[in-house]
Symmetry: C2
Subunit: 489 residues, 2 copies
């Protein structure tokens, strides 16, 4: 019996969170802006369900650096294991295979929505978060990759990241494979070494050349004394890799020339350089120069399934970290070509390329820059002076809404008027409407300007506010017009 | 090894589905319109995660008529059982308890998103579907119920259901409880009978008075010969219930008078009639007359947790069913007052009332009425006549997009030009842009009006199209302007 009457805990599950008010509208507005860009590029929306069969999701877990992370899965009653999707790419691959006879080919689609990861939650890391993807399935042309890069640049500008504050970096996995070949790491028995090399390259910004060289060789001890085992490359092998990571030059043409010198001996590598040059030429023809999109051999992308061009959007402005030090904001989106995901289902090669925007990081960047849109004013609050005249107050609020003004009547216990003003304050209400018996008899209402009132309360020099009354009495018939005027509409 | 190389099936899990293109944008547009109304009424958005602890969801499964339906649940690694939410009300109750010291009170919130039910899928019945709720937590006033009813009417009109094509019906569970008292069914030992009576009342529209009377008495055999056991009421008891179900009169005032005559002897029943009268008066003061909102004793609402006013929006126009017979479209939204859900967590009474709109049914209604918005035109398709000049084609498509025109370049294999036009057709493209070597040399492009072309192809009288060429040649420099003109922009 005691068990039965125990109260449940009112808690979000560990690693999950709730989003209130402006947190919801600001994200929604950003996603709407991105969707408008995707739409303009001819991409169609697709919404798959949150639930997929584990079989369809496969073993393509998202991040090689975190092999232990998993999915939320359960056994369905009569058949399969089901799971929550961990990204939007795996469901797209399933859709592209399932509807391959009905979809246009190439198929450009965008998708936005939550994904779920069954991983250890940490500060700022949640087990449900939004992704916002655009992919082209069925085109082997690098024009598809170039288009996604241009669209990514457009999307960033559309949401409020000005040109110069971001850069889209493009690289090609084939060049990386060429580097591995030239360095003698192409064999099936070198998979572990290749993994270490990839992760080392990915850390060049943070560790610098010497740190990466240590990881390519015997290993590296970090400041905390922890030792990371290296790839065990010889000095000559390491030189090839280091040469690659430092191959970026002032122009895309010069970078490509340097890359060709490094990996031109490998057929795969040369092919990768050809593709990069083609992408740069296609982008230049549309006016996307290196102020927006650059060739950068430093971009690796963690995902194992990429097979060709890879790209990443980085914000180039600095923000202050938790210790007040300026830091690069870093990556907010990334993607690349993955030609093997649909083949899992159909056995046939289906080329595909696409990008995923990290919604929460991009939103955080916009907030850091003070460029977030979608926040909205609190409602006008009609207070209740006389609970028997609720119908009158509801008529007022009805008129305000019909005039397009966000408004509500106070629905709590009206006995304590101070509580009503506290409520209006908590609602960030711009105006309180007040009508007691005296005003009602005189056919008047009082409008209290809560924004001005708050300023007056804060202000040291009361003088300047003297001739701007924070409270006015207006005829009841003029309610909506007077509120609109006070709102500055 | 054979196991390892078996291909996964490309299938949505049973009972789930994918939404493509216009299916996504039409629903989004409808939800945006509803959100705008909720916003105007002062409601704030709340987005909780899809996942809750089973403990927090509790045993309030949604529908007493389908007790076997359940949730998708799994055991978390180190702690609780987790589950996908089955509605948006249970998470709200959890939030209202968890943040009770921080939220404004009363707390008006709206929420939109998918919910999940682990039930047997059927035709048109899916295991993931959208809900769109608005609730006021912390107000015991019937003004809160009246406000939700008015807002529901506004929301229906906003999305495109004209006045006269819908009605919001209001009733009160207290009156039902009064009926039970008067009929001698109030005791704890009568729960089964009360359940049968409630379900019988709910079927009055379908079964008529005699059908309901049979269910109140011994039981009823339907056309298929299936027998449903009745509540076993005496003729006198059944008269009270039948009197209630037929209590609706031409005006709310007359209906309330009739209800008072029936259940006035019960304190609870009389209280319920008082509340209904108050709601009607509050709505009348805002101009919501019986053309929009009516008192209707026929409304029961299946959910067990309702404690006061209940309401339901019904569409009053007819649609043709699968056999071509005209049928009432029926209910698209419903809700009521539930004062016990937050108490589960806190032990304290927290009054609450709210509505849930059945998103898919409402969208189906709009489609049936031809009033759905949010569909969009396919993109202008720039075809590829010469694959070496892809940069030129991408420049064209870039110009079109910069002019705000939805446009894409054909990214498939360009060898077969017929395939490109088939693709444009599949994309519902209004215009194909064509530039071969001859046109390029002359500084021209060809615009093919695909909509006009399709009309000409269909038309019996070719004459009328004669002077409207479906294909024009324009200077390359005029591309965007000429496309805009052909689009009628």
């Amino acid at each position: 019996m005691a068990e039965k009457t125990r109260r449940p805990r009112a808690e979000t599950p560990k690693g999950f969170r709730d989003y209130f008010g402006a947190e919801v509208t600001e994200r929604k507005r950003m996603l709407d802006q991105i969707a408008a860009v995707y739409h303009r590029y001819g991409f169609d929306p697709l919404e798959t369900s949150a639930v997929e069969t584990v079989e369809a999701l496969g073993k393509f877990l998202p991040d090689v650096d975190r092999p232990n992370e998993g999915v939320f899965a359960w056994a369905d009653e009569d058949q399969d294991w089901l799971a929550l999707r961990y990204d939007l790419t795996a469901p797209l691959a399933r859709v592209a295979a399932q509807y391959r006879n009905d979809l246009p080919s190439p198929y450009r689609r965008y998708a936005m929505g939550p994904v779920w990861r069954n991983e250890k939650p940490g500060p700022g890391r949640f087990r449900q978060f939004y992704q916002c993807d655009a992919d082209t399935v069925g085109s082997a042309s690098v024009a598809a990759d170039a288009e996604i890069c241009a669209m990514l640049a457009d999307a960033l500008e559309e949401v409020g990241i000005p040109r110069g504050d971001y850069v889209v970096k493009v690289n090609n996995r084939k060049i990386l494979n060429g580097v591995m070949e030239v360095a003698g790491l192409a064999g099936d028995d070198k998979e572990v070494e290749r993994g270490i090399v990839l992760r080392a390259i990915d850390k060049i910004d943070r560790l610098g050349v010497e740190g990466v060289r240590a990881l390519l060789g015997e290993g590296r001890k970090d400041e905390s004394g922890d030792f990371t085992k290296g790839a065990g490359l010889s000095a000559e092998q390491a030189d090839v890799v280091i040469g690659f990571t430092t191959a970026r030059r002032d122009s895309g043409v010069a970078t490509c020339a340097r890359l060709r010198a490094l990996v031109g001996a490998s057929v795969t590598g040369a092919d990768g350089v050809d593709e990069l040059e083609a992408i740069a030429a296609l982008l230049a023809a549309q006016g996307y120069g290196p102020d927006r999109i650059v060739i950068d051999p430093g971009v690796v992308r963690g995902l194992g399934y990429y097979t060709g061009p890879v790209y990443e959007a980085e914000l180039t402005f600095k923000i202050l970290d938790e210790k007040g030090r300026p830091r690069n904001f870093g990556s907010v989106a990334g993607g690349g070509r993955y030609d093997g995901l649909v083949k899992r289902f159909t056995g046939q090669d289906v080329p595909a390329t696409g990008v995923s925007i990290g919604v929460d990081r991009l939103l955080a960047a916009l907030r850091a820059k003070g460029r977030v849109a979608g926040s909205s004013q609190g409602p006008v609050v009609v207070t209740v002076m006389d609970r028997d005249r609720m119908a009158d107050y509801m008529a007022m609020v009805g008129e305000l809404r019909q005039a397009g003004i966000r408004a509500e009547v106070y629905l709590g216990n009206p006995k304590n008027f101070g509580n009503q003003l506290k409520y209006a304050d908590k609602r960030a209400s711009p105006i309180a409407v007040i009508q007691g018996g005296t005003e009602a008899a005189a056919g008047k209402v009082i409008l209290k300007d809560l924004i001005l009132g708050a300023k007056i309360a804060e202000s040291a020099t009361l003088e300047e506010w003297k001739d701007r009354p924070a409270q006015v009495e207006v005829p009841r018939a003029d309610l909506a017009a007077a509120v609109r005027k006070m709102l500055g509409q």
